[in-house]
Symmetry: C2
Subunit: 431 residues, 2 copies
């Protein structure tokens, strides 16, 4: 994400935050609000010549997590962080520390960072193995254009937009009812909106809207359609266009989006072939919010921004639920080798062995007892999912060997003491 | 760290916190206080049958860090976290989230977890390449024994202990002055104390103290000496005994330590061979605090605990200072490959190429411009320390090749397009 001597900057930020409050969770931080963003932007003092930046916002509050839960959370964060790094993330905060402000990068040509945002979303959601997903895209300018050409008075844009936003939860019939009865929209205007906002499809729908006799008269909408067309071209090159759907009902309640908006939803696999996949909730979202940054530009220029949020808490809850459903066992340590003995007075030999393993970078444990019994030592390995046991006793010491036991197969082989570390490393690299 | 059906537990905790406030730093959290520990213990409700646990406490407050500083901090945390995992850390919080409660593990035989704590300290400090270091050990029971046999009234133990604790900063003469003039100790008592607390050495000093006519009469001191002897035996097996010094002046101001105490200090390399290495400050510390946990045991039993703190802020400041001194350049991204073009209208080809690299897990960047000039692209790679550039232009497209450029050597070779990913991976694995 280079900048290289251009006039204004674009902000490239990634928020790793909450999308919404999962039921029953405590201490959950809400998505970064308009004012928080504004504050962060203000704090950054808009250094237009600085390098673009990723910012990871971790939830301020945390719940008390069990070791199993922490493993799941670490897995999610690892996927997200390594994806960001693959995409040149700079100043990526390790999840240890929370940062508040971000850099502004150079001027970019349209839709290139936007396409990368969507590619990042696809990579993260694929790597998390959450099942099938779809990213809905739309553009605030298209939505505003629709409202304008359908005859919505400008004073009602906001209210009608929030009705449209409900289309992923309630039927068009109910949304129409709300528009007409609660928000006082003329029924024929509502019907015209309905013709648009029930459409979704790929790049062909973008082309179709370009030909639409009413919408093609609206300058704002045409700009939005032009950007979406370009976006779909880049997404096709990235090989992710089939994961993205142009959805004219997508409104994203947040006020600060000014151009392209997107939201990733997980799809439930339909039980019957003819059923449409059900939407089980959004797990990532983002868009452009150029105007907001412009508010703080000393010369009043608009500074384009692209933002992306990953709903870590939401994803965490989904993964946790799946693991419960499928009874998946989660290891709470990464221990690779356990050092055991069947005999008394072998503590020093065990300590010598384990120090050798540690010094070779191998994750190893032993029992903190002078004279443990063998069975509990082996039982512990089975319980904890430790794959290998090295066993030292009198016989082994005399012969200069170590017994190496595979916990899953319970097979044991004698290994020359001097070859132990190499053999353990070989087995671990194969598994 | 198994537990396996025993009566009381031992807590195995690691605090990753602050040791002291580095000068000029803001938002620094102090070391976990007595009451914080007590609270944490209380919250844990002392589940004696649960597995031992590591807890990483990250500083609550953070400073605003530059991307370079974040890289340094991430490096420190990676060393610490991977060391903890190598030692069977369970429930290790990724540095993202802060946890408050910990588990209590099974009954362990003496000094085995304590020796592992010191081994962990040695591994972390070696891997951080902070220069030579020394771990001072002592035992609160030995200190108390010294005070008793030297004739310090029990009411003055605490005050005299805090004077002794200053011996790493001020001379014995000044400490003695404080004891006699400010704290009202008889001069001959102070002199007797001085004979002890100015001693430091290895296991032979432990043996010598066993023979000491006064100290060998004190039951408490003998217990402490017995534990230290065992500790040194295990440290010898671990190959780290030469890094550990029995230092009778080590007091550790904190009240809650009850047995072995330790503190790691960095040593300045002496300019002249005859000079003693100078202590430039403590970077890790820990010890036993059995009694404290006992306070919360429902049956009033003492539950032994081992604790270890790594002074991350202190280490961070030291590393930062060194990097400044030696002018080390720190990369702020991990980008491995930059996708460049010398020609106009090659955006789509660049996007296709970079998507291939991303999909192969390679960290890659491109310029977000339709028609960037070649020189700034190459300049960016040099500035950012990106090692490889892949270049695609008309000629390459026609011939089905990609130019692969090594940034440091500026050498370029043509690679068949279909072999590019493999060649890049080969080069990265070699570097």
């Amino acid at each position: 994400m280079p900048q290289l001597g251009l006039l204004h900057g674009r902000a490239w930020t990634v928020f790793l935050g909450q999308l919404r409050r999962p039921p029953g969770a405590v201490c959950i931080r809400a998505v970064r609000s308009h004012s928080q963003v504004a504050e962060a932007l203000f704090a950054s003092q808009l250094k237009p010549q600085e390098k673009s930046n990723f910012i990871i916002k971790t939830p301020k509050g945390t719940r008390d997590l069990s070791p199993q839960q922490m493993v799941v959370r670490e897995k999610i964060l690892n996927v997200v962080v390594s994806c960001f790094k693959r995409h040149g993330a700079k100043g990526l905060d390790t999840p240890a520390f929370e940062l508040k402000d971000f850099d502004i990068a150079g001027q970019f040509d349209p839709m290139i960072p936007d396409a990368e945002c969507l590619k990042i979303m696809c990579e993260i959601l694929s790597e998390l193995h959450l099942g099938d997903f779809l990213i809905k895209v739309n553009d605030r300018r298209i939505l505003d254009g629709i409202f304008a050409v359908c005859g919505v008075p400008e004073s009602k844009f906001h209210a009608i937009c929030s009705s449209v936003d409900k289309l992923d939860k309630i039927s068009w019939k109910d949304v129409r009812h709300e528009m007409v009865v609660k928000k006082g929209l003329a029924p024929e205007v509502a019907d015209r909106i309905g013709d648009y906002v029930q459409c979704h499809g790929g790049i062909s729908l973008v082309e179709q809207m370009f030909q639409d006799p009413r919408l093609s008269q609206n300058k704002q909408a045409l700009e939005g359609l032009g950007d979406l067309k370009l976006l779909f071209e880049y997404l096709t090159v990235f090989g992710v266009a089939e994961k993205v759907s142009f959805d004219l009902s997508l409104a994203r309640g947040l006020d600060y989006y000014t151009g392209v908006i997107y939201e990733a939803v997980l799809l439930q696999t339909p039980v019957h072939a003819e059923e449409e996949p059900l939407n089980v909730g959004s797990v990532a979202a983002g868009g452009r919010y150029d105007g907001l940054v412009g508010m703080f530009d000393p010369r009043g220029h608009k500074v384009p921004c692209v933002g992306l949020s990953i709903g870590v808490e939401r994803i965490f809850s989904i993964m946790e639920q799946r693991m419960k459903t499928f009874g998946e066992k989660i290891r709470t340590t990464e221990t690779q080798v356990f050092v055991a003995t069947p005999q008394k007075y072998f503590l020093q030999e065990r300590l010598k062995l384990i120090a050798e393993l540690w010094d070779a970078g191998i994750k190893a444990e032993l029992m903190y007892k002078n004279n443990p019994k063998l069975l509990p030592q082996l039982q512990y390995c089975e319980n904890m999912g430790i794959p290998l046991v090295v066993i030292i006793g009198e016989q082994e010491l005399k012969e200069g060997v170590i017994k190496l036991r595979s916990v899953p197969s319970r097979e044991e082989v004698a290994i020359k003491r001097e070859n132990l570390v190499a053999e353990v490393q070989k087995r671990l690299s194969e598994s």
